[in-house]
């Protein structure tokens, strides 16, 4: 009788896995993929997914100060939206603070057409993109992604996982289709032709 250990809380294997996943996610400073979580926990990806489902329920918005979200191709803990006011008093948000219209347009070009070079960005926007690109690299929203093919190829850029995280995107596929944006192209053409006619071209 005296050899038997008294255990008040008996954890199920899924519960045990949930604790491991919690520990991994609280230590991580970037989203972790299912594969990474499975490997670190020593379980199959399918088991890790089951554990994540359990955590998603436990850390749903409104149930705790911590929320588990699926973002940038992985899973990450963040503060509950209800606690944003308190967070704002203590922390600043350097990555997205004061993004200018030029920076947002450049981000859009890189997100939709990347990897792309500075000359390509300048071609779409019609103005030089050097300083804007440097600013976005410094914020960690875009990063270098090799050079264009051929001798002396220009540096190309693409968006980073931080970009997806800041904008709350699970992946770039969540961006709206470019074909659905831009309004009526016929209207632009008609306007241009009217200008050309008025000048007698």
């Amino acid at each position: 009788m005296e050899d038997r250990h008294l255990r008040l809380i008996v954890a199920s294997p899924l519960d045990r896995l949930g604790r491991t996943l919690e520990a991994l996610l609280i230590v991580a400073s970037q989203p972790l993929s299912v594969e990474e979580l499975a490997q670190a926990s020593g379980v199959d990806p399918s088991e890790a997914e089951a554990g994540l489902e359990l955590l998603a329920e436990r850390y749903a918005e409104g149930r705790s100060g911590i929320v588990l979200e699926r973002v940038a191709g992985g899973y990450a803990f963040r503060a509950s939206r209800e606690e944003a006011e308190a967070c704002e008093r203590l922390f600043e948000r350097p990555a997205e603070r004061g993004l200018s219209q030029a920076a947002l347009e450049t981000l859009a070009v890189v997100a939709y057409t990347g990897p792309c070079s500075r000359p390509e960005i300048a071609h779409v926007r019609g103005v030089a993109a050097d300083s804007v690109v440097a600013g976005l690299v410094e914020r960690g929203l875009i990063s270098e992604a090799g050079r264009e093919a051929g001798a002396g190829g220009a540096v190309r850029y693409r968006t980073t996982p931080l970009f997806e995280r800041v904008f709350g995107l699970e992946s770039l596929s969540e961006l709206p289709r470019l074909d659905d944006l831009g309004g009526d192209s016929e209207e632009i053409r008609a306007r241009l032709e009217a200008v050309a006619d008025s000048r007698g071209v």
Partner: protein, 251 residues
């Protein structure tokens, strides 16, 4: 060092300078993308590393960069006739419309991102070590610089030396003054205490005053003082005088 040896690492091009020139002349690299100032800076840096001024190399470089700048300037102000002859008015409008459309889509994508960012403004998450928000600045009340100077000067002053003179003090015996004052009152009937002790040290004056109090206690003298801190007049007490009188009459 010759200009064609110059290795370049520009945003639009990486490689030797002569390859850049070849690519530009073959129209394989748009000159508008090449930052000529960066080439000049790279050349100057190489020149500084060498230490010695190679006039021949500098001359060659100036000619090549001059030519490059001329080509770039011409590219910036294209000949309208040359471009116009390739594209008809409708084609030109079509091309312009295509580019404007492309830009408008990107503008709307940027607006979508801005809107998305706005909706995500209450999402906080860990991002490496979280940088602390700057603390609100607390302005101290206005200070007088002179007050600080004064305070520091007071602290910087040499403190006064500690006196140990009192350790060597010796009190003269009170009895000496008892005898002296008894003799004085017998001789003169009255005298001024202040006048008698004027020449003495402070400690002797104190002993003399104690002797005076002793005499007063034993009713040998009477003390008068017209005002506080005024001179103390010492005289023979009445008891003393009556006893003296008795002695004289009995004799």
């Amino acid at each position: 060092m010759y200009a064609h040896d110059l290795e370049l690492d520009l945003d639009a091009f990486e490689g030797p300078f002569d390859l850049l020139l070849t690519l530009v002349l073959r129209d394989e690299l748009p000159l508008a993308d090449v930052d000529v100032a960066e080439i000049v800076v790279a050349f100057c840096e190489r020149l500084l590393e060498r230490g010695a001024l190679d006039l021949e190399a500098c001359g060659e470089f100036l000619v090549l960069v001059g030519g490059l700048l001329e080509l770039k300037a011409r590219g910036l102000f294209p000949d309208e006739d040359a471009d116009g002859s390739e594209l008809g008015p409708e084609e030109a409008a079509e091309e312009l419309a295509r580019r404007l459309e492309e830009y408008r889509r990107i503008r709307e994508a940027a607006d979508w991102l801005a809107d998305r960012l706005e909706r995500q403004s209450d999402r906080y998450f860990r991002l490496g070590p979280a940088p602390l928000a700057p603390r609100p600045e607390r302005r101290p009340p206005a200070q007088d610089q002179q007050a600080l100077v004064h305070a520091l000067r007071t602290l910087a002053a040499e403190p006064p030396g500690v006196s140990v003179a009192h350790m060597a003090l010796r009190f003269p015996p009170v009895e000496r003054f008892l005898e002296r004052f008894r003799a004085l009152v017998r001789k003169r009937r009255a005298f001024l205490f202040d006048v008698e002790v004027r020449e003495l040290s402070r400690i002797e004056q104190a002993a003399a005053f104690l002797a005076l109090l002793e005499l007063r206690k034993s009713n040998e003298v009477a003390l008068d003082q017209a005002a506080p801190f005024g001179p103390i007049r010492v005289s023979r007490s009445r008891v003393e005088r009556s006893q003296e009188w008795k002695t004289v009459t009995s004799a």
